[in-house]
Amino acid sequence: MSGTALRSPAARALRDAFLSALVALGIFGVMVGLRTDPGARSLVLSWHPVPVAVAVAIVFFGRLALSGWRIARPAGTAAPRRLAEGMTHAGRYVAPVFLILALTLPLYAGRYYLDLGILVLTYVMLGWGLNIVVGLAGLLDLGYVAFYAVGAYTFAIAATTFGLGFWTCLPLAGLFAAIFGVLLGFPVLRLRGDYLAIVTLAFGEIVRVVILNWVSLTGGPNGISGIPRPTLFGLTFLADGGPGSFADYFGIEPNITQRVIFLFYVILAMALLTNWVSLRLRRLPLGRAWEALREDEVACRSLGINVTVTKLTAFSIGATFGGFAGAFFATRQAFISPESFTFIESAIVLAIVVLGGLGSQLGVALAALVMIGGSEMLRGIIILGVDLVEYRMLLFGIALVVVMVLRPRGLVSGRTPSVSLGRPREISAELVAEGRG
């Protein structure tokens, strides 16, 4: 449009801001402005113009500021590079600090924060597991929750029908999830990118729908309850203590927090195991083959790499960790139902992996902390009469957009070569292709 080109930058910025505000009005007007409150006999629709006005104003001025920043900084300049590199290099110090914080958390944190920690660590583990498939092997998997579900149901069914304990069932859950990984892998071997994403999405839904309808095995929508808690070398963590319990053995007061602390350490150990295995695998020929596969499938074939086996191992190993996490989820909740395994779970885990920077272990952990822990922190923060936690999905979306604009390759987006001579040199984020590891 020649007319647009002639207009001054300021006028264009204003017009942009106005259009953005209009779009915001359309979105927020319905999502924020209209609310249903329980009335005398039915729900009553009420209209809240103030939050809408605030949201629209934020979008308007935000867009204006962004345009101003673009004008001040000519196109083509690299994003704030010092910040980017700083974040990448800080990794060496941040990771041990986080590890120490995690290990000592039960010493100073209360029940609420321990529960939150368990939740975050579950997602960290899922993120690391999915990272093997998406980040390393470059296979976009939108149905990761299927393996989480398979793991959870394997444990739940084995425990409630055969009376097996958590530690016996854990390898079983991983094994079943791995089998499902191979099952998913076979039909999608020839697919890439968008097509692969669609099929994996369908796979996730198929698993959920089967669980929902196979009532005799899974209890259908009623789910499975009474799933046993894990034990520490046979010692239980019952609230009332009793013989054979942890509290009884050590002669201390039975306390429900003991179980929470135990669960926290179990998931911490499981997540660290996932991390350790991924890091080890990256240095092995198999892990390098995954990365090479992500880079160029044709070249891999020409080097005599068996692409079929390489893809299937990525799917099955990634699935194994999903299955482990699922078994842990089942034992923690003591109750599972298909509602816990919807597409949104896959989306959240994938968002964590993408936000964290595909292939980056620390980035995934940070993203899980921010997305899961951060959104939980919003609970109870009330602005203009609305609890922010109700808008966590909206804030998720905004966070994703902001990160993708500022750091298109994820929070921690460098890539450390898996082999090096002397000190590993970080491959700068600028050189890493967008949207990939």
Partner: protein
């Protein structure tokens, strides 16, 4: 003497389109053989058919006395055949070092570091750049990396698909020089697919001319270079 690699009446199709129409090619041990032809003549298809993708529909491909026509690609590539594919196809985000290691996939680590020294000896530029990311190399260096990566599996037969593509004449000379050197010192057998007919025929012991999926001429490199129809079709106006 039986040929190391021989193709007899090989046809290949992309869907309904016939790309190779009964090709006979022989490559003897220790030879450099080139396959020249215009764009779309089926040169790369021939190369890929040897590697099993696409599979040959008719005819037989034998390597070292064994029929490899119906083997899956990765098994063909594990029989001391290595390929430097068209467009180089190095791994852009992996370091030069990692790229080379990928070439030695499934081989003992001690052997890999020894072979890598030989590759660095052949292409000293790669040693200088060994910690650099593959994608940041220049076109010529990427080509050296692609050849080096192929050499990492210690092949007897090296398949080179258009190594001169998009490179400056000086770099092309350097790379062809390295191929000649390799062939002379180690006896490596090379099948070279090229559009740059002049350079390729000067390098090769023998050559084949591929037109529309069929071999129309064959002879020694010098012999083909001297033929007027080759000069007219591939050399004059080109180089």
């Amino acid at each position: 003497m039986t040929a190391l690699l021989s193709l007899a009446g090989v046809t290949a199709y992309y869907g309904a389109i016939q790309a190779l129409k009964g090709v006979d090619v022989e490559v003897n041990e220790g030879e450099i053989v080139t396959l020249i032809g215009a764009n779309g003549a089926g040169k790369s298809t021939l190369m890929m058919t040897i590697c099993g993708s696409p599979r040959a529909r008719d005819g037989r491909i034998t390597y070292d006395g064994q029929d490899i026509t119906q083997l899956p690609t990765h098994l063909i590539m594990r029989r001391d055949i290595a390929q430097s594919p068209e467009g180089r196809r190095i791994f852009p985000r992996m370091s030069v070092y990692e790229n080379l290691l990928m070439g030695a996939h499934g081989r003992p680590a001690a052997e890999a570091s020894e072979t890598m020294e030989q590759v660095f000896g052949l292409f000293p530029r790669l040693r200088e750049r060994r910690l650099q990311r593959g994608g940041t190399l220049s076109g010529g260096e990427q080509q050296m990396l692609a050849i080096g990566r192929a050499l990492m599996s210690r092949p007897r037969l090296l398949l080179l698909d258009e190594p001169s593509l998009g490179l400056a004449p000086l770099v092309v000379r350097q790379i062809f020089g390295a191929i000649r050197e390799l062939n002379r010192t180690t006896g490596l057998t090379v099948l070279l697919v090229e559009q740059n007919a002049f350079q390729a025929l000067r390098l090769a012991h023998r050559g084949y001319v591929l037109v529309n999926g069929a071999i129309t001429m064959a002879g020694t490199g010098a012999d083909l270079l001297a033929r007027p129809e080759i000069r007219a079709a591939y050399l004059e106006g080109g180089h």
